[in-house]
């Protein structure tokens, strides 16, 4: 008898197969449908564009002090590059490797706990994207402590995604925080954050590269804009780029007064440069300076001094500089919260703060660091990066807290500039 080619199943015709698939598809569609439409964590009311901290829980009675646990580890700390003192081979490369930071080694020895210090943050938004989903879902992010700039710290705290600090573990912090940094609207009582370093955004340039081609050193933003665009980079930190852009046009970058038109003017000012080869980078500018690809850039004040070459210079532009603070925040779900608090407290010891500031060349938030740093390096007291002179301080501008509409406009204009 003639062999029929073996079929999968004679009852299963093509029609029934397609029907079955369609049915499965609709079921999946319905399942997915109910999954979407969930809103993110409700944000607190924001007045004057600055997010407010979550309401304090009522009646926090803690009469008997909780017994102190021994610190658990390793402490997972997400950090920016060039933000801690380094020694040995790391001193030359400027990149942290385990065991290369005197301050961290002292901490490890004192508390007998390991520290996993990871220079994972190159830009606030990109880092935020890596933890945002977990925070919304209430899952641990994997980090015990993160270092984020004002606007992101305020956002995280206002959404209730930061662990409340136990001030009893932080005597150094409460005693030594500089008055100028106290009382932030977004966390007035420092229940959720302590500053790590303050810094300025200005112009960084390499003296030798510019001299070789006979270009003048850029002391103002107008000079920076006039250099060959393919040798210049601006920052992908939009608040810094647009803030300095506003200063260059003579507009005061006050977030409560800046309009969408002002931002548009900044965009139109930068667009010809972007079309001609200007790039927008984060901390990658350190590598570009090292390879002499970039001659001048918008940079953060301490980076070139700590990790650049001998002839890399940072100046505050004549029009003014942006000021900001990076803050230590413990995200919700951190497994080693106590260890993180110990680290915060440890870094607010003036000796340790001076040790760190002496390397990173940022403005320390710790009272008494200036005394200690003079003992380490007498020249440091005169360093304008660590102790900006009065005329620079007068022209420092803060462009951190934008309204939602302004932020959306800034995002849109920046996308157009950066080509995406």
């Amino acid at each position: 008898m003639a062999e029929q080619p073996q079929r999968l199943n004679p009852d299963l015709t093509r029609r029934r197969f397609l029907q079955g698939t369609a049915f499965a598809g609709v079921a999946a569609f319905l399942a997915a449908c109910t999954g979407t439409g969930e809103s993110g964590a409700p944000s607190g009311a924001a007045s004057a564009n600055i997010p407010t901290p979550p309401p304090a829980p009522s009646a926090t009675a803690s009469v008997a002090p909780t017994p102190k646990p021994s610190p658990t580890g390793p402490l997972h700390w997400a950090q920016w590059p060039a933000y801690i003192d380094l020694s040995g081979k790391a001193y030359d490369t400027g990149v942290y490797t385990p065991g290369s930071s005197p301050s961290l080694e002292e901490f490890k020895k004192k508390y007998k706990v390991d520290v996993s210090y990871e220079e994972k943050i190159e830009a606030n938004e990109d880092f935020y994207a890596t933890i945002q989903q977990q925070l919304v879902a209430g899952l641990p992010t994997g980090w015990d402590m993160i270092t984020v700039t004002d606007w992101l710290a305020a956002k995280i705290i206002s959404k209730g995604w930061a662990e409340k600090l136990d001030q009893g573990d932080l005597p150094n912090c409460t005693a030594n925080l500089r008055d100028a940094l106290k009382g932030q609207v977004w966390d007035p009582t420092n229940d959720y954050h302590y500053p790590w370093q303050s810094g300025m955004t200005g112009i960084g340039y390499n003296k030798a590269s510019l001299k070789k081609v006979g270009k003048a050193e850029p002391k103002s933003l107008a000079d920076l804009y006039a250099l060959p665009p393919e040798r210049v980079t601006f920052l992908n930190e939009k608040r810094d780029t647009f803030g300095l852009g506003l200063l260059k046009l003579g507009i005061d970058p006050d977030p409560t007064k800046v309009t969408a038109d002002d931002l548009q003017k900044v965009h139109d000012d930068i667009k010809p440069l972007a079309d001609a080869g200007l790039r927008f980078v984060g901390n990658e500018y350190l590598q570009d300076f090292a390879s002499k690809k970039t001659w001048a850039a918008m940079t953060w004040s301490g980076d070139l001094a700590s990790s650049g070459a001998e002839d890399d210079v940072w100046v505050a532009p004549t029009e003014g500089a942006m000021i900001w603070t990076d803050n230590l925040v413990i995200p919700k779900g951190a497994t080693n919260k106590y260890t993180a608090e110990l680290m915060m407290n440890f870094c607010y010891d003036p000796k340790i703060a001076a040790q760190i500031a002496n390397y990173v060349y940022y403005v320390s938030p710790v009272k008494g660091a200036e005394v200690e740093i003079a003992k380490l390096d007498p020249e440091a007291a005169k360093n304008p990066l660590l102790f900006p002179p009065a005329d620079v301080v007068a022209k420092q501008k803060n462009f951190q807290f934008l309204s939602d509409e302004l932020e959306a406009k800034m995002n849109e204009l920046y996308s157009d500039l950066s080509g995406t």
Partner: protein
């Protein structure tokens, strides 16, 4: 065994379930694969489609509104990036073919006992991460790097000449990263060719080039098809090379999706772009397959 219309077997005690099991075996074997496709492809695709017709933001949440605004934005706002993706991806695919075919041919026909070593050398770069290999191109194409440094010392190019952050660098990066994806399928197809066919062609008075053109190359077409789609499709969606080796004018559609998704949290537009990319690729690949002729592709 004839396929009966489901009549229960007789005579074998308890044989009914064995028969049903045998009939169900193909489905059971397919089940893990189908389950995988369902969970990791079909459901996410549907989810992505629903996201693309939603509106809102990360902070305030996304609501399913069935608005087409994301698609409008996706279709109209990124002509340059779409063109870049097509052009750079296309050029890179052609370049990988031009470079890869001679390599695959040599290994298949002239490799002899070095075949395995040569194949290993082709795959060896994959042992390093994709990102590291792309970053190494930054060093290679550097202004004073191993390529331009000697050229500048000999004054063949001016001192201010730079290759980094140009379209050339991006295409070079994509070509380099996807070369093994072209070489290996070509090698497999060429390896299968029976050398006696070429001998027969020579016996019938074909020149070397004629034999290649009329025997070897048509037989290698399945490899060409596989290699080119394995190269072109990922190259279209690539963003690492444009990010590390390009500038603002060379951004590709992958960069836009990445920026919209991660930096801006604009999920609807990112999802819409992903869908358009997927649809475009499906159409292109089916047309390409039709053009090459499906009988030839399935051997």
């Amino acid at each position: 065994m004839t396929a009966s219309a489901g009549a229960p077997s007789r005579g074998t005690p308890g044989g009914g379930w064995r028969r049903r099991l045998r009939r169900a075996t193909p489905y059971l074997l397919l089940a893990p694969g189908i389950l995988w496709l369902l969970i990791f492809f079909i459901v996410p695709s549907i989810q992505m489609f629903l996201t693309s017709v939603s509106s809102g933001s990360i902070d305030s949440g996304f609501k399913l509104t069935f608005s087409s605004k994301a698609y409008e934005t996706a279709f109209t706002k990124f002509p340059r990036q779409l063109t870049n993706s097509l052009v750079y991806g296309g050029i890179a695919t052609i370049l990988t073919f031009l470079i890869g075919f001679p390599v695959a041919y040599t290994i298949a026909f002239r490799g002899g006992r070095y075949k395995n070593i040569l194949l290993f050398l082709v795959i060896a770069p994959f042992f390093t991460s994709f990102l590291i290999r792309t970053i190494s191109w930054k060093i290679l194409l550097n202004d004073t790097g191993p390529l331009l440094g000697p050229l500048k010392d000999l004054h063949i190019v001016p001192d201010s000449f730079g290759l980094l952050f140009t379209p050339l660098a991006v295409v070079a990066g994509i070509t380099y990263n996807f070369l093994p994806f072209m070489i290996l399928p070509l090698y497999v197809a060429l390896e299968k060719i029976d050398p006696r066919l070429i001998e027969a062609a020579n016996d019938l008075y074909a020149s070397h080039w004629g034999a290649f053109r009329r025997v070897t190359f048509p037989l290698a077409l399945p490899g060409v098809f596989a290699g080119s789609i394995l190269t072109f499709i990922p190259a279209l969606g690539d963003w690492v090379n444009a990010e590390l080796l390009g500038n603002t004018q060379t951004k590709m559609i992958g960069n836009v999706i990445q920026d919209r998704f991660i930096s801006q949290g604009d999920y609807p537009v990112a999802a819409a772009l992903s869908f358009i990319l997927m649809a475009g690729i499906l159409v292109t690949v089916s047309l390409y397959g039709r053009f090459l002729g499906t009988e030839q592709l399935t051997g």
